[in-house]
């Protein structure tokens, strides 16, 4: 159980350091507006968009507990979807064009779409379903409604914990570059995570399926 929560935190850090999830925007906001306070403000908007994107993906899965009998199938299907997204990103290495149409000031919308397009929410699904499954087996059989309530809580908590760790990780990089290192390090710390990211999705999806049969 604790390992799964650590996975939620770890995935947040992982998303946070990926420039594709927005930390360079926080740096540019502070520089463009010439005030320090623009940095945390931009981070907050990015966090809001990311959080909404996570919940948009996790909530439908948490509602599916009505199908208690189909839990195994749901978790396998979820794993396959995540793997499929990873394979899609492996094959289609183009950047999502929709992001190019978003106005630079609409950071929350941008962050929502960026997370959606990169499958950031999907990466959490197998971990989330794992947590739900452990919860169910610990509490035994309870009414579907109670179960749904607790799963909703878990979904929000997972999204919140993940977004918090993402924001902290991205915020630390953005602040260090803005305050101390300077713009030169912006391009120096910018690594191409496209391949690693796609492989991570495949890895997480495979883990999700594996854990079903492992009995977690």
């Amino acid at each position: 159980m604790a390992a799964l929560w650590w996975a939620v935190i770890f995935s947040g850090v992982y998303h946070g350091i990926n420039p594709g999830m927005g930390w360079p925007l926080a740096v540019s906001a502070a520089l463009m507006e010439r005030k320090h306070s623009a940095l945390p403000k931009a981070l907050a908007l990015l966090a809001l968009g990311h959080f909404l994107s996570m919940t948009a993906i996790l909530l439908p899965f948490s509602l599916m507990v009505f199908l208690v009998d189909w839990q195994v199938q749901i978790r396998v299907a979820a794993g396959l979807i995540v793997i499929a997204m990873g394979i899609y990103l492996l094959i289609n290495r183009q950047h999502p064009k929709i992001l190019a149409r978003v106005h630079p000031a609409r950071l929350a919308l941008w962050s929502f779409l960026a997370a959606l397009a990169h499958g950031a929410g999907l990466m959490l699904v197998p971990i989330f379903l794992g947590i739900c499954a452990v919860g169910t087996s610990e509490t035994g059989h309870v009414a579907a409604q109670t179960l749904m309530g607790s799963n909703l809580m878990i979904a929000f908590t997972v999204a919140a914990v993940h977004t918090l760790s993402m924001t902290l990780a991205g915020g630390v990089i953005a602040t260090i570059i803005y305050q101390w290192l300077g713009l030169k390090f912006l391009s120096k710390t910018w690594f191409n995570l496209d391949l690693v990211w796609a492989l991570s999705l495949i890895g997480v999806g495979a883990f999700g399926i594996y854990s079903v049969y492992l009995g977690h």
Binding site: V27, S28, M32, L99, N192
Partner: protein, 466 residues
Amino acid sequence: MNLRPDPTFHASPKLAMQAPVENYAFTVMLSPDGSESDGIAVVDLNQKSDTYGEIVHTVIVPNKGDEFHHFGWNACSSSLSPLTGHAFLERRYLIVPGIRSSRIYVIDAKEPLEAKIHKIIEPEEIFEKTGYSRPHTIHCGPEGIYVSTLGGGGPDGTDGPPGIFIMDCESFEVIGRYEMDRGPQDKHYDFWWNLPQDYMVSSEWGLPPQFENGIVPEDLLSNKYGHSIHFWNLRGRKNIQTIDLGENHQMALEIRPAHDPTKSYGFCGVVVDTTNLQGAIFTWWRDDDGKWQAKKTITIDPRPEKAENLPPLLQGFEAVPPLVTDIDLSLDDKYLYVACWGQGEMHQYDVSDPMNPVLTGKVEVGGIAKGAAHPNGKPFAYGPQMVEISRDGKRVYWTNSLYSTWDDQFYPDDEGGQMVMARVGENGGLELDPDFYVDFPKGYRSHQIRLEGGDCSTDSFCYPSV
């Protein structure tokens, strides 16, 4: 795809200025009568090299009559945009349009000495997918490579207005038109933008029948060339405001926004004022209410000249107009260089205060009824035209041809292509370097220059210089 951003991508103009200096220039080779194929010359700019100032490689294309003019990179510092970051693209391909043929060549310049054609986009593909013709200015931006065109559809390019189309920055596939609402825009020339502030500015030359076979004096004297600049919501693809500079301000050409993205102003050069033959620079800016404004901040007077010394086109005026045909702004937004192609002068203005430019340097070379020689004693045909500034702002390169048919009207006795370089003093000032003089192969003229690793009219920056 790289694992790290291309080292020639810079977050801010200041970082670009501190980057290593240029080793090569890529310069257009134009066969003015289409008897030879056009090409790109690779010029050695490394002063320690044995072949410094020489053409060390050429890429000659397979077709004739393309008429190369302007060109640009597939990727620039805009790839570090925090919004649409595509940091792992390479600045590797030159996108070279033929403005007469509407054909586009993609040249792989990864190894400048082995530069070669990577892909050819045939005119039919552009006509079919965009309805535009005569591609011109290239910039890399949020949705790919943006290409401005000078013509619409039909054989003479007047079937519908010209505009901008977008190409994929990796496959070089033509995607389609940019504009969703062009407003009153019906002519086109140059465009540039401010990416974080999300605006674009575009300008107007004239429609193809007004330039392809030479300047049309009747159209000029009746003020029928372009005289407006257009402001766009860049990502919304919408014309938000058009400023008419006044119909006497004929041919509003180069758009040069301040490089620092926190600034909301820039410049536009006007070739000729038909009321007095002056050349002019307008400063445009966004006021506190968010409205765009433009004001004439530089005027350059014509020089009186006896009719017998003038080409037939100008004899009736008994004067040489400056003909401001190109301008370029240094990366620190300090110096604006203004090519006076008619009078044979390159001016340097301190534009630290963009509303009050101050003339700080001037070089005379070539010119109508003057033909001033280069300091090394060799001739300089026509006048200073396409100008490009090194990233560090210390060297200013320029060539001499404006446009095939126009060269012949304004300079009927001249022929040849030259590329020269002037050095900028510590506190401004401009002096031609006697040791840098590139004479183009016989039968070729020269036009736009691009510097290896980016220059002052390609890269768009997404972070301010701090």
